[in-house]
Subunit: 336 residues, 2 copies
């Protein structure tokens, strides 16, 4: 493809679109199942594969590239992670691309390369796709939407309604890295930093726990962060989620940016962490399993679910208590 | 939900987003499988259902509403049609929504109502979704992306490489209605009209043909229209596609708008038509089957695939010939 920038004609179904699909998309994402000439594709899932699970996610992160990832790798990780926390192994993805006229082809190439590398590492294949180009001013550069199909052991039941009072709450690593890394990449406050997004597949973390008998629920704390997952648990169980500030891992750089800008790290997005709720008897086992993995070496037991009104209580390091309210304003839009 | 317009906070994972999902999306699209609290959902497809087929599509049509449909019903029909022309019956859809800050909730409600009605008629369920809100100026009001999962008889093989020289080409109804209806709805040329989009499910049309032994290939001529489907056939077979202008159904109103603006109707999008390629022995049977359906009463045999160079030839009504070139410029962006 000779063009340096995407034009409207790259989305019209004609020659330029065909070249974009064949020479750019298929070059990065090609595999045995992706047939750029087909309307739909058969998925080779057999009975042995287990129960089929599906999820979908949109991505609008700005900037498109940041330390630790880009919107392409994020789409693979984010969608794969939604399957992983449901106890599934991801297999096949579909991809929708909305490109704003004028996007540099070079940027698109890097995004697709990031996507291809993440897909290869996760052993998933993109089996169907669609591309639309919108006029300059009608898009934010690039939006992606991915749907993921995975399989899990039939009968897997991980859900908020399985949580019981007394259960332990754990997190697999420091929170808020993604939110702050993306914010720093915007350079909008004159701040810069070395922080990388935590963006990664959580499949090793979720697979490690999947056969633990006391496992109730897992979720990746993305938009709205840890506090929002805690609220979902409180609302779903009608019980109190109690978190201990001293035990919640937060990197120094995240902490200091939050202090400077008045953000609360508990609401910041992660893209490679898991929150797990498990019977208290199995909590130590989770820590041992997670800490044996590179992805989980900073894992921590951070709180519990308790009898009490449906709310989220943070025990502060000074020994006090404060409520973590449900998120209202959006401190960082287009973070994922 | 009390807000009249969508705000960034409706996409942040917090309270307003939860209300938008629970009170607007779930009210229109709710079903037994859609769990707005789950990361991923199990799909109840059993062996009896046949081979699983998947497809995906993005929608950016402008305006969001037009005579005969809206972006919501279009997303259901467009994605369902991609499954239908692959010989499948649609079952489960996922939905991604990209909303531009400021969109009227009233418009969103009408779009979702259109989507719900189309889904109900097609007997498909939306089993997973995601919503993102982007800042004013970073989106075109509303974009949708849908992935559809369907099933078909194992071993169904409809593909361009099954086409043979001598095969007949048929279309199920008049072409270009969608393109012109959407263009008229923009009122950008001071033109108005009564024309409705042909937007509809083509499942009755495709199901009618699926057991015909000589059926080679079906496609819905959306972006790039009939000429683009013909080009795909010519390129895929390495043969000449010959179309007869006199036999191609085009409504008078489409014809006159095309004359006025210098458009070629063969490149205009349809959203409820099927192009079928079939052995010449079965062509009459296709016409009989289609004409017995309300969706196919203007069906016509419009041409054939012939030995010769890979190109598309139009026999004009005056007895001449012209090549239909591969689409280059985009006469009507954001048409689907």
């Amino acid at each position: 493809m000779q063009d340096l920038n995407i034009t409207l004609a790259h989305g019209n179904g004609g020659r330029l679109m065909r070249e974009l699909i064949e020479e750019v998309f298929a070059r990065h994402l090609g595999n045995d199942y992706l047939d750029t000439n087909a309307d739909a594709v058969a998925l080779p899932l057999n009975d042995a594969a287990g129960e089929m699970v599906i999820t979908t996610d949109g991505f609008t992160v700005q900037p498109l590239e940041y330390p630790g990832g880009n919107i392409g790798s994020l789409a693979i990780h984010g969608t794969g992670n939604d399957l992983a926390v449901a106890g599934a192994t991801p297999h096949y993805f579909t991809l929708n691309v909305f490109i704003e006229e004028g996007l540099e082809v070079e940027v698109l190439e890097r995004v697709l390369a990031g996507m291809a590398a993440a897909a290869k590492a996760l052993q998933v294949q993109i089996v169907a796709g669609d591309t639309k180009v919108v006029r300059r001013g009608e898009g934010g550069g690039l939006y992606l939407a991915t749907t993921g199909v995975g399989t899990r052991q039939p009968g897997t039941r991980l859900a908020i309604d399985r949580i019981m009072c007394g259960d332990a709450v754990l997190v697999s690593g420091p929170i808020g890295d993604h939110g702050i890394a993306v914010m720093l990449a915007r350079e909008q406050f004159g701040l810069r930093g070395e922080l990388r997004s935590d963006e990664a597949s959580v499949l090793p973390l979720t697979s490690a726990l999947i056969s633990l008998p006391g496992l109730r629920f897992m979720r990746d704390p993305t938009r709205g962060g840890l506090a929002t997952v805690a609220h979902e648990i409180a609302r779903g169980t009608g019980a109190t989620v109690r978190l201990r500030q001293a035990d919640i891992p937060v990197r120094d750089q995240v902490q200091s940016v939050c202090k400077m800008l008045g953000y609360d790290p508990y609401y910041l997005a992660c893209e490679g962490r898991v929150v797990a709720v498990i019977s208290p008897d199995n909590a130590d086992e989770v820590l041992t399993l997670w800490k044996s993995l590179p992805e989980g070496k900073h894992a921590a037991r951070i709180g519990s679910v308790e009898t009490g009104p449906a709310r989220v209580v943070l025990e502060t390091e000074l020994g006090g208590e404060r409520f973590l309210e449900e998120l209202e304003d959006d401190p960082l839009p287009r973070i994922c």
